[in-house]
């Protein structure tokens, strides 16, 4: 066990750094740039039952200290993920991977989870319940604690792998949703997904995104992530994975002090392809600077 290692739901990670879903494809593409085995693990592209193109373009916009995306879960569908993407990943990645799952109904969630549960390389199932436009009275699964619990329970029934519920920040009471997931059997909580936002083009006087709204990510949302990780970590007993605007080793330490066991890095990968490597490489020095011997010692240190 090194100074950077942490334990996430019974699986040892060499370090807590996890590229977030939607910013790292199926991993093997990034292996052209660096050895992805140096990562703790990564969360692969959000996978749904059916193949999806996602929303019309433009579906990316810039903001002060961040960006909006309205990609809309483009992915080849779970069958192709299993038959085409995971075999390519297996050739270059020799650690358990985090499978990220999305759905538009409980049946879709369980269908995809059941399929990915059988994949040997999948270590954890990260279930994204912050996707809008899902069935259930037009309310997204992640913004209602009863729905969040219902998905958690349904998914837990079809897998023996650790289930991580990925929560939306677009709620008034994040703690009640996190607790509902924990009570329904979630093995961990990850947060925050992107913050629903929008921008308007002054020249065209129309929204910049064809989808009108999109999710804000990048350093702009980091303080929000710290606050929500802190509140949730205080309230639940399962591990919390922190994410939202993380760009440096200092950010990683801050989120871990707020209660995160591991940390996902999202938007930073898009502007700095080597972001995760740079963070991992600089962690020991930054830990020395703040008198930290082992990262596990600081989890929840500020609680």
């Amino acid at each position: 066990m090194g100074r950077l290692s942490v334990n996430l739901c019974g699986i040892e990670l060499d370090n807590p750094i996890i590229p977030a879903s939607g910013t790292f494809g199926f991993g093997y593409e990034f292996n052209e740039y660096y050895d992805i085995n140096k990562l703790g693990t990564f969360s692969f592209k959000g996978t749904t039952k059916e193949p999806r193109f996602g929303n019309p373009t433009p579906r990316i916009a810039e903001t002060p200290s961040g960006m909006l995306n309205a990609v809309g879960l483009q992915n080849p569908g779970v069958e192709k993920v299993i038959s085409e993407e995971l075999p390519k990943l297996k050739e270059c990645f020799h650690k358990p991977v985090m499978a990220n799952i999305s759905g538009f109904s409980i049946d879709e969630y369980t269908y995809v989870c059941e399929k990915l549960d059988k994949e040997e390389q999948v270590g954890w199932l990260e279930v994204n319940i912050s996707c809008p436009n899902v069935h259930g009275g037009g309310m997204s699964f992640g913004t209602d604690y009863k729905c969040a619990a219902e998905v958690t329970k349904a998914v837990k029934a079809v897998t023996t792998k650790p289930v991580i519920m990925k929560l939306s920040p677009n709620v008034t009471d994040i703690v009640s949703i996190a607790k509902a997931c924990e009570d329904a059997g979630a093995d961990a909580i990850s947060l925050i997904n992107t913050v629903m936002s929008m921008r308007i083009d002054l020249r065209t006087k129309k929204p910049l995104l064809k989808n009108v709204t999109g999710g804000l990510s990048g350093p702009a949302v980091f303080p929000l992530a710290v606050r929500m990780v802190y509140q949730v970590a205080k309230a639940v007993n399962v591990p919390v994975i922190g994410l939202g605007g993380v760009s440096s080793a200092e950010d990683v330490i801050e989120l871990m002090l707020a209660g995160a066991t591991a940390v996902e890095v999202g938007a930073a990968n898009l502007v700095e392809p080597y972001a995760c490597m740079n963070i991992i490489d600089s962690l020991p020095e930054v830990m020395d600077k703040y008198g930290i011997n082992n990262l596990t010692d600081i989890i929840g240190g500020a609680l």
Binding site: T23, G25, F53, I60, E62, S65, N69, N269, V271
Partner: protein, 244 residues
């Protein structure tokens, strides 16, 4: 993809709101039709700009000032350093050109045609370049294309210089074996309709990463979904599906 630091050698206005920037750095493996992605201080996303030319260690890009990013770029001076991702996108496939290809560039779609013309001419092809602009003040690089040995035709929409009209008006009067084009999408659509000959189109999209990670710039094609930044920006005519 390669990440490296380039040093600005020159940055000058060559036409109305159009700047040419030359940079010194690692230009290995940059192909015609590719783009670079530039980190600018104070802006979160990198700025994708097409490659105009590579000569030894010198990269040349040409950009029009249209927003926050290019506004920052125009104020930069020789000696300043930039963090740039190079070798992005597929680039043009030169093997399909035939003996007499035509290259059509519109506005800041002209620059990528320059390196392509240079390489095709080096292969012994007889190249015609049609360079389209709105008006005389925006015209650039006519002499540079002529100096390469390309048969060069300039069009302006208002007729203030060269042939009056669009690049498609000039295209009617010439013979060619194949075409390559880059420019605003209405121009690309007009070319698609105007010719039965095969060719390659280079597309522009708002991008997140520029190297295939975020899926922000995807488009649908006959051969499946493509990322403009990775499987594009160059797409063959027979693969294109025009969206509304």
């Amino acid at each position: 993809m390669k990440q490296s630091i380039f040093e600005i050698i020159e940055n000058t206005e060559i036409a109305l709101n159009v700047f040419k920037m030359s940079l010194n750095g690692d230009t290995a493996d940059i192909r015609a039709g590719q783009f670079v992605n530039i980190k600018l201080e104070g802006l979160y996303l990198r700025r994708p700009i097409s490659v105009c030319n590579v000569e030894n260690d010198i990269l040349t890009i040409i950009y029009k000032v249209v927003g926050n990013g290019t506004d920052k770029m125009k104020a930069m001076t020789a000696g300043q350093k930039l963090d740039i991702l190079t070798g992005l996108g597929n680039g043009y496939d030169l093997s399909l050109s035939g003996e007499n290809p035509v290259l059509l560039g519109g506005g800041v779609g002209v620059p990528p045609m320059y390196m392509l013309a240079k390489e095709l001419i080096a292969q012994g092809k007889r190249v015609t370049a049609i360079l389209g602009f709105n008006k005389k003040e925006e015209v650039f690089f006519e002499e540079e294309f002529k100096a390469l040995g390309a048969e060069t035709i300039v069009t302006t929409a208002d007729g203030s210089y060269g042939v009056k009209g669009f690049v498609t008006d000039a295209l009617k009067n010439i013979d060619y074996t194949y075409f390559y084009t880059c420019g605003p999408e209405p121009m690309l659509r007009a070319i698609y309709k105007a010719t039965d000959t095969n060719g390659q189109f280079s597309f522009e999209r708002r991008m997140g990463c520029g190297f295939g990670a975020c899926m922000g710039c995807s488009c649908k094609t006959i051969t499946g979904n493509k990322r403009i930044c990775k499987e594009g920006p160059v797409i063959k005519k027979e693969d294109i599906i025009w969206e509304d």
